[in-house]
């Protein structure tokens, strides 16, 4: 799960990670009121969307007066912000963070992430703050310092010191950075984060170390033990069809193509998308209906897929293991009878009771194209598009 910068900073505050003072504002008036509370006359107005690269897209600006705060907030709230992470369609800005100005001496990078190859958390630091860390990793990997964290011990102070000295910090900056890192690690663990990125981490002219930006993602599998985090979810930032699918407990991701697909299992769902592409079509979505492909899930699956106006055909690919194909066929027949499926349907059922299922589909008076194999299914799905 992703959250906004202002929410991430609120969590960091709770764990004593130093962040600039700031307040979220939904209107220009609120923005001005927020700016009045700041300890500095300079304020930074930051668009709050779930995407990076906001600065380059014009979503982060400096205001030298309350009038400028109002002007910038007026400009930003409601504007469509396009960054390299939003895609060309951009995202509408609905709120801004009004933050104190900071006297920046150095811009650094600090991140905590799971290193899958080692199955351990790694804290990464770099002198190359304010730029994309992926770029640094690709071009100058030696500029990224890493400390792997033993899960039984947690982050140790000496590891934080190594990173701090490695960043070229000195004097009281070192202690401040160590405190920052330890606190960030505590926040990460306490909230079951999957990623915490402070980019840039700034050192001020006074020697303070603070998070100028903050990005925190959470592990979806751990949300059950953090009900407070669920309140931070911003549905405006998500694809509406995906939000609706999640209500039905369907795993759906919208794509740009025109062949809708309904599959059981994530791996097979991806493979089905792949083979549609190989057959000359474009998948319209990823949809894993999971282990229990019954009437209800199939019907909800159809509803979601059909709400995408680009969908011109639907391919159903179910490999029956525990789920029996005859039940899936029954589900498809009932679903199609109860909702208007106005695009051609190609069905491929394999595995448990596949023959009975084929017979049921055959006997029904509904229009299906039945496919016998994965390749055949993709071929037929692309063919029906041409008719």
């Amino acid at each position: 799960m992703k959250i906004h910068e202002y929410q991430a900073k609120q969590i960091l505050r709770e764990f004593n990670v130093p962040v600039p003072e700031g307040y979220v504002a939904f209107t220009p008036e609120e923005a001005v009121e927020a700016a009045k509370k700041l300890p500095t006359s300079i304020a930074v107005v930051k668009a709050q969307i779930h995407a990076g690269g906001r600065g380059k897209g014009g979503g982060v600006k400096l205001a030298k007066s309350l009038d400028e705060v109002r002007q910038l907030a007026e400009q930003m709230i409601g504007m469509k912000l396009v960054t390299h992470q939003t895609g060309p369609e951009g995202k509408i800005v609905k709120k801004v963070l009004i933050e104190q100005g900071v006297d920046i001496d150095r811009e650094l990078y600090l991140g905590v992430v799971l290193d899958r190859a080692k199955s351990e958390l790694v804290m990464m630091a770099s002198t190359e703050g304010g730029v994309e860390i992926e770029k640094v990793a690709a071009e100058t990997p030696e500029k990224i310092l890493k400390e792997w964290i033993d899960p039984a011990l947690g982050l140790q102070a000496y590891q934080a010191r190594k990173l701090a000295f490695g960043l070229g910090l000195s004097g009281k900056q070192v202690n401040n950075a160590v405190k920052f890192m330890m606190a960030l690690y505590n926040a990460f663990m306490a909230k079951d984060a999957s990623l915490a990125e402070i980019n840039p981490l700034v050192v001020t002219k006074q020697g303070d170390v603070l998070a100028l930006d903050a990005k925190i993602n959470f592990d979806d599998s751990a949300l059950y033990r953090h009900p407070e985090l669920l309140e931070l979810r911003d549905l405006d930032e998500e694809e509406p069809l995906e939000v609706e699918a999640s209500k039905y407990h369907l795993n759906y991701i919208k794509l740009d193509g025109n062949v809708g697909c309904m599959v059981n299992g994530a791996g097979l769902a991806m493979a089905t998308m792949d083979i549609i592409k190989l057959a000359g079509g474009e998948p319209a979505n990823f949809l894993d209906v999971g282990g229990s492909a019954n009437v209800e899930t199939v019907r909800n699956g159809f509803k979601i897929i059909l709400k995408d106006p680009n969908v011109k055909a639907i391919l159903i690919n179910i490999f029956g293991g525990i789920v029996r194909c005859d039940r899936v066929a029954q589900g498809v027949i009932e679903a199609v009878q109860s909702i208007d499926v106005n695009v051609p349907l190609v069905i491929r059922l394999a595995g448990t009771n596949a023959e009975e299922a084929a017979e049921m589909l055959e006997k029904s008076d509904l229009e299906f194209t039945v496919a016998t194999s994965l390749a055949d299914a993709a071929q037929k799905a692309v063919e029906v598009l041409k008719n």
Partner: protein
């Protein structure tokens, strides 16, 4: 012959009285002719008999002591699964298969590091399990699509693995052992660990390796195969059309920071001499070709 799950395996089921656990325990009791289900564990339900056949114990330790179980398959809900794995490890089991999907990643980081130096194999979590056709299964895969034979199967997926196995069996090609290693970012047995076992199995002639986007496990396997493995490997990587930054169902299936793409993995695998299928429909045919069948 097979790996991991053999004629010496005696299975206990953690979570045997739950709805998932009881359903699949029955399936295993029916299919497993040579690797019997000997015990179940559900805390608080010790002393009961499951289906009048399998004794239920309160702890894994007790179950092992009373029945000689040496392997466990876990069907407990995500909040308790990490604890169940550690309990199985502590009881000295050699093989632990965790089916549970949705275990918090930080729980698995702790578990992985606690067991990594032990003499045990953890399969999963978030996986279909292990099957040695003709001997038995520990997991949720449909046994009937399998057939005893000489092709090893290793996969991060569930139903896609069934698809691949189905293609093999349709061509009369049987399997030595099929292992679903799981779709999570932190798993016990990885491709390389499974390949090492297949390397030493005289009955395995070739291996099918099914990967997907996310992480670098396939690349690491490719490097290892190039140096150490001389049996033919056929591979498919799911997610060639997956967009970056989106989790495709499995917690571990995500292209992040431009890495973990299918194209990158396919290239690395091909360079290591692995037969890479572009289409998931070609897995069976490619294995047949490689084996000269």
């Amino acid at each position: 012959m097979s790996i991991l799950l053999t004629e010496k395996t005696r299975i206990l089921v953690q979570g045997i009285t739950g709805s998932e656990g009881s359903f699949h325990a029955r399936q295993m009791m029916e299919y497993n002719t040579k690797a019997p289900v000997v015990a179940g564990v559900t805390p608080g339900k010790g002393g009961q008999m499951f289906d009048d056949k399998v004794p239920v114990f309160n702890t894994v330790e007790q179950a092992v002591k009373e029945t000689g179980a040496n392997a466990s398959v876990i069907f407990v809900p995500p909040p308790f699964a990490a604890d169940a794995i550690l309990e199985a490890a502590d009881a000295g089991l050699e093989l632990v298969v965790c089916i549970t999907e949705g275990i918090p990643a930080l729980d698995m980081v702790k578990v992985y590091n606690a067991i990594k130096d032990r003499d045990m194999h953890l399969i999963g979590p978030n996986c279909p399990g292990v099957i040695s056709p003709g001997i038995g299964k520990m997991g949720i895969m449909p046994a009937f699509i399998h057939k005893p034979g000489t092709v090893g199967v290793i996969s991060r997926s569930g139903t896609l693995t069934y698809e691949a196995v189905h293609q093999l069996t349709e061509r009369g090609i049987g399997q030595s052992t099929g292992i679903g290693i799981g779709g999570d970012p932190v798993i016990g047995t990885r491709f390389i660990d499974a390949l090492k076992l297949f390397k030493d199995d005289p009955n395995t002639e070739a291996v099918v390796m099914i990967g997907e986007i996310g992480g670098t496990a396939e690349e690491e396997a490719a490097a290892w195969i190039k140096e150490n493995f001389d049996k033919p490997v056929v591979s498919f990587i799911a997610g060639q059309t997956a967009p970056p930054g989106r989790r495709m169902g499995h917690a571990g299936a995500i292209i992040s920071g431009g890495h973990g793409t299918a194209a990158e993995k396919m290239k690395t695998l091909a360079e290591a001499g692995i037969h890479v299928c572009k289409s998931p429909a070609d897995i069976g045919a490619t294995v047949a070709q490689v084996l000269g069948k």
